[in-house]
């Protein structure tokens, strides 16, 4: 069936052009200075030096990573129990609930974030509820809390959906077997459900962590003009400062960090699988 294999050729060319070449261009820009062309350029590490020797830039990076970690943890804490509960309902209700969780993801992310501005702003509903609960006048909009809320709101459906689909693939008779062998519910969960849902958890973490690190509109809309994350820093370099080479260097740094993190996650996953198989 060699004929069919030729079908993949156009895509390979396309992928090299549209997926690989752009990354090479970022790398090229990050190692050169403005005014260079593809034909004549000189190699420099200046932009990387600029980033790593400035504590303010490093602070922005670490804060972005921290926010992404917090978002991921919150999504996991909310998403796992939710997916678990949903997976244990009847088929009809389950389909309905999954639909209910999917629908918001179909509505544009910017629109979803924008919707929070009114709720969180001064004199808005959230503040009124807090006053009514006796928590006093709490300011929400333009705080880190608001940014976190916006991120969790936007990304938690991905976490739920991923974990849910992993839980659904699980063979129900495994739990019965565990029960027959004398495991109580908690033990069965720990020994059977949790390990089997791990691939879903890992997919979910990827789907939440990646956009959370690089999002720059959520901090801008809900964090205010001075909430500066790494995404904002990159945007700034390209859109207003015109420092494309420096911007490319920051992008490269981010891409490398992400790649390392993802490799770590993958490694953890495969080790886990190996352990499972040994058992």
């Amino acid at each position: 069936m060699k004929k069919f294999s030729q079908l993949a050729l156009p895509y390979i060319i396309w992928a090299v052009l549209m997926l690989v070449l752009p990354m090479l261009l970022i790398a090229l820009y990050s190692f050169t200075n403005q005014g260079n062309t593809i034909i004549s350029f000189s190699f420099t590490l200046e932009h990387y030096g600029k980033f790593f020797t400035d504590k303010d830039f490093l602070l922005v990076l670490s804060r972005s990573l921290m926010i992404a970690v917090k978002t991921t943890l919150l999504c996991l804490m909310i998403g796992y129990p939710a997916a678990y509960v949903i997976s244990r309902t009847g088929e009809k209700i389950q389909n309905f609930l999954i639909l209910m969780i999917t629908v918001p993801t179909w509505i544009n992310m910017l629109v979803r974030t924008y919707a929070w501005i009114g709720l969180l702003s001064e004199g808005g509903l959230v503040q009124k509820i807090c006053l009514w609960l006796g928590l006093g006048e709490v300011e929400f909009l333009y705080t880190e809390g608001a940014v976190l809320l916006g991120m969790v709101y936007n990304f938690v459906p991905f976490m739920i959906l991923q974990i849910h689909s992993a839980l659904c693939k699980m063979d129900g008779s495994l739990l019965e077997a565990a029960a027959d062998l004398g495991a109580n519910e908690v033990e069965a969960f720990k020994q059977v459900t949790l390990p089997l849902s791990l691939p879903g958890v890992i997919n979910g973490i990827t789907l939440v962590f990646l956009p959370a690190v690089s999002s720059f509109f959520i901090p801008k809309l809900l964090g205010g003009g001075q909430f500066f994350l790494i995404g904002n820093l990159i945007e700034n370099q390209f859109i207003t400062a015109g420092e494309w080479n420096f911007g490319s260097a920051i992008s490269m740094i981010m891409a490398v960090i992400m790649m390392l993190l993802m490799m770590l996650v993958k490694k953890a996953e495969s080790r886990n699988q190996a352990q499972e198989e040994e058992k």
Binding site: F217, F228, S251, A255
Partner: protein, 630 residues
């Protein structure tokens, strides 16, 4: 134990559903609000929907979003499926190589993919616009389609196609009749992911678009700084479209199912996809159809304008289109610097509306052309304060658009004018107003106030003075908890959220017209007297139409509409006087009539070196502010 768990589970799900839908519901409710407020509902009104339908920008954004999503879904589903089938028969190395390449957009943060694609289009000089946006969407959608089709293809019996062909099917028939039906679920879920990704995308579209092409995300991002309830109306429309299509997708197969029980499952999937596409096509046609009605016999030429956001009267463009039959495409920028980067990179526009110092730079770098004054007869109507300014002494290149000063907007309930007179800009370092001040996110005007506060010229080139100004600003953001804002300051000050803020006079006028408690003050240390003007880039496609537009904007009607709506001072003398005098919209509001002839006031000059220094220092200030805020 089980019961208890159930209860908690139910509570959690209920909480989640509320969490997901409350903001959407809130937004829908407030799209019917009579006033601009996002917090107080003052009465039912459909006016934001009217606004939305009248706004070409919004309707085009809707059209772009859905047409790109549908096209990208179709293309990437077909291409992805074919490639997945091909790959499954390819050598392992090849398959793994493609997997690695596909991982690039999946495993990289969006912003990295976005920048890569932007650099790609710029390197190969592809003009950015609708096509590049579509290409980019296809590029990031195909990997997801392959990811979801591949496992299905690989789980097929490899002999299936051979068997079909042995039985006389052509390869194409084997593909279409045997393989595709087997992997339909994978294809459908791949298509759904592609559609969701495309509709949802902001970052990649934002970086690869051009020529004023914007989707919903870009529109919301550029319009959201000032409260604009029309956004709620558009969003509500999107929610309605999505809900309707979901209902239809789920209902149509249900209705048709009653006819035949056989082959239900497969047909259901096909019907669902069909229904989805049908709904989408109808939606797109509906939006397009409206546009088609607007076609005019006259000219049909296109004028591309690049101007600051929220900076034009709402009837100016429609009236101009009515008058000339031309079609106007407007694109908005946040800052002169952002505009400069695009223009310097060769994007074409017919009209730009930059500020004085930027015009000086554009003249120096020969990026704009000399005007044909004969074609702009209405310029006789302009006020002399806005003409023959140092940036373009003969007005050879530019026609004034708005002019004004920079000043302090203050809550008269918290700050007195005497205090402002006494302290000037240094009031921004007064601990009394800690956490009660706004700075404006503009590098040059922030350095202007710092330099003026220190008694220097705002056009200084002395590094020592700039450094002192940097320290002044650093002190302000790190000890005073100042918020650095852009146009959101307008609504926030109109609602008296802080005691003091730096604003442009026109925004000051608007704020004062909304809230009588607010005052506007031009400090005695001097300020920036600025002028924004229209210019025509060298590479403009349609300079004739551009001249026509300039002439039109100098006319009484256009200038009145513009200034009345935005609040900035009109260069048209008659309009300016009428709006400021008794019965005018800005009657007695001092911010509308900038101080003239005061010796400490200056206007900006462009100097490349200084600009770079200030630009770098200001980024640092913002980062310091951000790090201090935590």
């Amino acid at each position: 134990m089980k019961k208890k768990q159930n209860l908690w589970g139910k509570l959690l799900i209920a909480f989640l559903i509320i969490f997901f839908y409350a903001p959407i519901l809130y937004m829908i409710i407030f799209s019917f609000n009579e006033s601009r407020s996002l917090t107080a509902f003052s009465g039912f009104s459909l006016k934001w929907y009217r606004h939305m339908l009248e706004s070409k920008d919004m309707m085009e954004a809707l059209y772009t979003t859905f047409s790109i999503a549908i096209l990208a879904t179709l293309i990437s589903t077909v291409a992805g499926t074919i490639s997945a089938i091909g790959l499954s028969k390819s050598k392992r190395i090849l398959r793994e190589a493609v997997e690695q390449m596909n991982n690039l957009p999946i495993m990289n943060p969006d912003i990295v993919t976005a920048i890569g694609l932007m650099l790609l289009f710029i390197t190969f000089q592809v003009e950015k616009g609708y096509v590049t946006m579509l290409l980019a969407h296809v590029a990031f959608c195909i990997p997801y389609v392959i990811l979801s089709v591949m496992p299905k293809v690989r789980s097929l019996d490899p002999n299936l196609a051979d068997a079909a062909m042995d039985l006389g099917a052509t390869p194409l028939q084997a593909l279409w009749k045997v393989i595709v039906p087997q992997i339909t679920p994978g294809i459908v879920s791949g298509a759904l992911i592609a559609f969701t990704m495309s509709v949802d995308d902001f970052i990649i579209s934002y970086f690869v678009t051009g020529q004023g092409v914007k989707n919903l995300s870009i529109m919301v991002y550029t319009m959201s700084k000032r409260v604009n309830p029309s956004i709620n109306a558009v969003s509500t429309l999107v929610v309605v479209i999505i809900t309707l299509s979901l209902l239809l997708i789920n209902l149509i197969p249900l209705l048709l199912e009653n006819y035949s029980e056989k082959g239900r499952k497969r047909r259901k999937l096909f019907l669902r996809t069909g229904a989805l596409l049908g709904v989408a096509v109808i939606a797109v046609l509906a939006v397009r159809g409206k546009e088609r009605l607007e076609e005019k016999p006259f000219q049909g030429q296109v004028l591309r304008i690049y101007c600051p956001g929220e900076y034009m009267g709402e009837n100016v463009i429609p009236d101009f289109e009515e008058l000339t039959g031309a079609r106007v495409i407007t694109e908005y920028f946040d800052s002169n610097e952002q505009m400069y980067i695009k223009v310097a990179n060769g994007e074409t526009y017919d009209i730009l509306v930059p500020s004085d110092y930027m015009i000086e730079r554009l003249i120096q770098e020969k990026l704009i052309q000399k005007l044909d004054r004969e074609k702009i007869t209405n310029s006789d109507l302009l006020v002399k304060e806005a003409l023959y300014l140092p940036y373009d002494p003969e007005n050879e290149y530019s026609v004034p658009y708005f002019w004004g000063s920079v000043g302090i907007v203050y809550d008269t309930g918290k700050v007195t004018e005497e205090e402002l007179q006494e302290k000037g800009y240094n009031i921004f370092l007064d601990p009394k107003y800690k956490s009660d001040i706004y700075l404006y996110d503009s590098e040059r005007d922030s350095f202007m106030i710092a330099l003026k506060a220190l008694g220097y010229s705002m056009n200084t080139k002395e590094e020592e003075q700039l450094k002192e100004a940097y320290q002044w600003l650093e002190r302000c953001v790190s000890t005073m908890d100042a918020e650095i804002v852009t146009d959101e300051i307008i609504d926030n000050m109109a609602q008296a959220r802080k005691a003091l803020g730096i604003v442009y006079s026109g925004d000051g006028a608007y704020i004062m017209s909304e809230n009588e408690e607010m005052g506007y003050f031009e400090p005695l240390e001097g300020t920036n007297l600025w002028c924004d003007a229209m210019v025509i880039p060298k590479n403009a496609d349609n300079p004739d139409l551009a001249h026509e537009f300039m002439n039109y904007l100098c006319s009484y009607e256009a200038a009145y509409d513009n200034s009345d709506f935005v609040g900035y001072t009109s260069p048209n003398e008659e309009v300016m006087e009428e709006l400021f005098s008794e019965g005018g919209t800005y009657e007695g509001i001092n911010a509308y009539l900038p101080r003239a002839g005061y010796e400490m006031d200056e206007s900006f000059h462009y100097d490349e070196e200084t600009k770079k220094i200030i630009s770098n220092l200001w980024s640092k200030i913002k980062i310091v502010a951000s790090n201090a805020g935590k």
